[in-house]
Amino acid sequence: MDLTPVLSGFAVVFEPQNLLYCLLGVTLGMLVGVLPGLGPAATIAILLPITYGIEPAAAVILLAGIFYGAQYGGTITSVLLRLPGEASTVVSALDGYQMARKGRAGSALGIAAIGSFIGGTASIILLTLIAPLVADFALQFGPAEYTLLALIGIFMVATLSSGSLVKSVAAAGVGLLLATVGLDPMVGTPRFTFGSDQLADGIDFVIVAMGLFGVGEILYNLEHRLRPQPAVLSFGRAIPTRLEWLQSRLAVLRGSVVGFVLGVLPGGGATMSSLVAYAVEKRAAKDPSRFGKGAIEGVAGPESANNAAATSSFIPLLTLGVPANATMAVLFGALLLQGIPPGPQLIVDHPDVFWGVVNSMYVGNIFLLLLSIPLIGVFVRLLRVRAAILAPLTVLITMVGVYSIRNNVFDMFLVVALGLLGYGMKKLGFEPGPFVLAFVLGELLESSFRRSMRLFEGDFTGFVQRPVSASLVALLVLTVVVVPALRAIRGRQAAQVEHDVATPSPDGGLAVASTRSEE
């Protein structure tokens, strides 16, 4: 493997301004991780217009930092308040909060930070080794392969997201439909524009992301407002003891592996990997009954996993151009905005962006370790910031940001309408993730489908006649069978966790036992 581009990527990272953007990104990530409400996808969407003018490598370094930084920050509220800041840290609330109640919050936060650091770093090394191979392989992909890849991506995200299967498919359908607004990609006929010039160029992805994730989330939280100030459990230094480290080092290792593998899968990502890592730890433990009562492995495993997954989920985006989860879909939009189409060409055509971003994650993880061990007190104090003040600030940054893209008021109306759509979807139990992902992949899917049909002269069997596309068809069929099975298992685990988090029991362990017997 040629190391020259990898090394010159470090040169990009150590440019002072890129170091600064990296620090800014991970700090923002920690912040949104700590503050419940806005997730990393929403934050990245809101910041897209602001990164417009920044250099591509710097912009993606900043936005990527928000994503993996949020995985660190979400732990803090899980452990101290049992209010997970991010979905991927829900499972850490189980044992983390119990540890905090026993006065071991510092140990829980410390091991979470160290585990996250190790998981994240190991994942970057694996990414460095694997990504070029995947990209190289993907260079031979034609329209048929891209049709299938996009289908697999949408299907897996739809099935693995937390909502119900049919609803995710319907949400993806609406996303695909919205993607067709504008001029037909092949022949230029206006579609669904209702005679409006504003819609003739189609709907900008940034506006969809800002509307659904940004305004939609804020409106949704408005209905859940006036939450009382939570009481924060106190703790000393965020550092585990030697014994605790020895106890949890294998959990960190196992979590990193689970996270890396699941993160690569579309729809796998951080949340799923943290749940699986928890299950793995429980199974591996000599005395599983300690789990739910403050077992440190129950924090170390999932926290290492969610960070490893956050990192490895960059692989499909940067090598195939297929985002693996909602946040990656927003980053897909960010790359497009910068004029860099994500795909197998990226690593060859823009090595500075690719390796700059990948290598910046080493530095970002070091920053995060510093932020979450010595400086953790600063972030804990932020828990006192009221949501009532944050909501109008974020909504106004969104509105002004939307205007700044094209200096166009129409876009502001569009973002409010999409925000209402996002709110309605959440109320009716539809996840915005599959919608946004389908919107992003819609054009790729349609044009590769149409090109393939021309190539195969209308014969669907063409898809199975090329070796690579045939194996992708097999993969698609496999996911149709395997994924619902996985989903059933995960659904049970998620319900279990949700139930355990929601139900306090005298010693934490009883809740698990009692639900078992009910089933």
Binding site: S164, A170, E223, L226, Q229, M412, H499, A502
Partner: protein
């Protein structure tokens, strides 16, 4: 889903049970105002009817675009495929509406959401007419004072600081030509 039989919001155990002071235990177990009642079967049906209707409208509009053939797909073919997907998935949602519990009832808080969205639409409307400063302050006052029940002092302080910060960020730092009244 419903088959799991585990209600998502079960918090039956009184917080005092293990001698932990209630004020420590309470926020994590049941943040009041956080849990909205689930929607009934009507709402669950609506969740399926909307995609079906969207699909039907798209189907009808796409027919006018020209389907073409499979060998040479026209502009309407892809939207038609998506429309069929929508109708089928929507019908499936309706079919299992009775068993789903993942919707959330619309409460009085929904009114606040609609007012909030309307305030943003008004913001967009006034934006180019009178510059961004006055609408910004108005939205902040509405959201802070009336939605957030902050004190007038906090409201005034946050509103002015935010407007100044937006000015500094977008106009001064990023050079975006926002319509504005105050020229520095």
């Amino acid at each position: 889903m419903a088959a799991n039989g585990v209600p998502a919001q079960a918090n039956g155990v009184p917080p005092e049970a293990d001698g932990v002071p209630p004020e420590v235990e309470r926020p994590a177990t049941e943040p009041p105002g956080e849990e909205l009642p689930p929607g009934g079967p009507v709402l669950a049906t609506v969740a399926g009817v909307v995609p079906v209707l969207t699909g039907l409208v798209a189907f009808w509009l796409a027919r006018g675009l020209g389907l073409g053939t499979l060998t040479d797909p026209g502009p309407g073919l892809w939207p038609t495929i998506v429309a069929v997907l929508l109708v089928v998935s929507g019908a499936a949602i309706v079919a299992r509406a009775r068993r789903t519990t993942d919707t959330e009832a619309f409460t009085r808080g929904t009114g606040v959401v609609l007012v909030g969205a309307a305030s943003l639409a008004l913001y967009a409307f006034l934006f180019e007419l009178v510059g961004f400063e006055i609408p910004t302050v108005l939205v902040l006052v509405l959201w802070l004072r009336f939605f957030g029940r902050e004190s007038w002092r906090t409201t005034a302080l946050v509103s002015l600081l935010t407007t100044a910060a937006l000015y500094a960020l977008f106009i001064t730092a990023l050079g975006v030509p926002l319509p504005h009244l105050i020229v520095i």
